[in-house]
């Protein structure tokens, strides 16, 4: 099992979710987050004065999949979230030791 964490542009959430559904992902967790990468935020203007917004709004996806689905999920996110412009985001893949479905106490891939 692997956990996939993806930071994407907020408006790409729907295309990414659809792409994940089409490769068989049955559940995921989403949070609104803020942060910056190499683009270092942007400037906004208020009452005539410019100011730097260091943290840009992003969406963070978390999902755990069985090992055989990792590549398909990874590719689906890349394809759906890509705009070719700075700020498209990142994907991280982490090992997962165990998983349990609380309702049934199933474990491992069956819990996903």
């Amino acid at each position: 099992m692997k956990m996939i964490v993806a930071i994407i542009k907020p408006f790409k959430l729907d295309p990414v979710r659809e792409a994940l559904t089409s490769v068989g992902v049955e559940g995921l967790t989403v949070s609104e987050v803020k942060g910056y990468g190499r683009q270092k935020g942007q400037t906004e203007i208020y009452r005539g004065a410019e100011y730097a917004v260091n943290f840009l709004p992003k969406v963070r996806l978390e999902l755990v999949v069985s090992d055989d689905k990792v590549d398909a999920v990874h590719d689906a996110i890349v394809t759906a979230a890509k705009t070719d412009k700075i700020g498209d985001g990142k994907i991280f893949v982490l090992p997962v030791e165990a998983a349990t479905r609380i309702r049934t106490a199933e474990t491992g891939d069956a819990a996903l």
Binding site: E44, I45, Y46, R47, G48, A49, Y51
Partner: protein
Amino acid sequence: MFKLLQKITPLALLGALVAGPANAAVEGETAFVFNTLLFLVMGFLVMWMAAGFAMLESGMVRSKNVATICVKNVAIYAIAGIMFYVVGYQLMYGIDEGGYIGSFSIWAPDNAAFLSETPDFGEGDTYAPSSDWFFQMVFVATAASIVSGTLAERIKLWPFLIFVIVLTGFIYPIQGGWQWGGGWLSEAGFSDFAGSTLVHSVGGWAALTGALILGARKGRFTSSGSTPMPGSSMPLATLGTFILWLGWFGFNGGSQLALGSAANAISVAQIFINTNMAAAGGVVAALIFTQLVFGKVDLTIVLNGAIGGLVSITAEPLAPTGLQAILIGGVGGILIPLAVIALDKLKIDDVVGAIPAHLVCGIWGTLAVPLTNSEVTFSSQILGVAAIGAFVIVTSTIAWFILKAITGIRVSEEDEIAGLDKSELGMEAYPEFTNA
């Protein structure tokens, strides 16, 4: 009363010369009813401006200070009414002709002449005394509301409210008596129809002295320049501006002080149009200016532009044509961003832009009166702006320094960072966002 006579007499004379007996067709009691109705309806429109200020200021402060600004706004309106009842009205209108200060006494309506068996309704220039009191009272609240926006997010609640007592009970009525009470300024030929100087600049001067003595919000001005602190809700700020715009029809229209004749009805209608056109001119001017100078339209400055246009026309909303009103308001709309930039350079922190809108445009509107009203001179206008400015600067500076010495006027740095809602009130304006 003096203000009323001043305006009605020329119109009544004109009516007598042109229309002859037609002008007398309206009975004294009918005119009495219409005049009273004007005061009451225009008065509750102006009362609603308190809601406009509350929403404008709520939108322009950060969410951690919204509940406090709401408390201040509702308290200001209440305190202004009580102070004007207890001492203000008589201090303003219980003044001798050409005098400097009215009497210290509680106001009470004198209805006897109108309720007697042989009532005397004058020449169409009378009204229920209580309706006049109500209309004048709501103006006081406006002047005080101006101060709260500038000083938001860092001033202590109670010292601020004590200042409001001083402003609405004493500072505003004393200088108001000089002009609208028939005191020395009106004898000197000063003209301020609905209060560009008497109401708006007074609030603006008190706000400016407060801002200087209180200092800027922490982190607002640093060595690298000014750091904007964007307000919590642009829709609320926009709603507040529209409410003020609506209330202003009462502010200026009611200041005609009479609706008992065709001439007065025509004047009130013209005032409505000019008031609207000036606000429109202010918005469009600010819209174009911010696009050209900042590269993007700046919403809060455009909102200030509407208020600036309204303040600019308030000193003379009757004499200009609609086109002149657009231009007078438009100049106000340009003065707003210029004043915002200047205040930033001077490191004066005005949270909502009340100093540009009410003080700067108040001065402009007052000085612009002779452009459209040939009976008024520039020298008398400058005298009025300077005299009232000096009076309010001195008295409010004294009041601020006394408060600073006795109670302190600024919250601690820690409280400021936590937000006044938590430190002053122990509550939040939007608790469900964090505690749901």
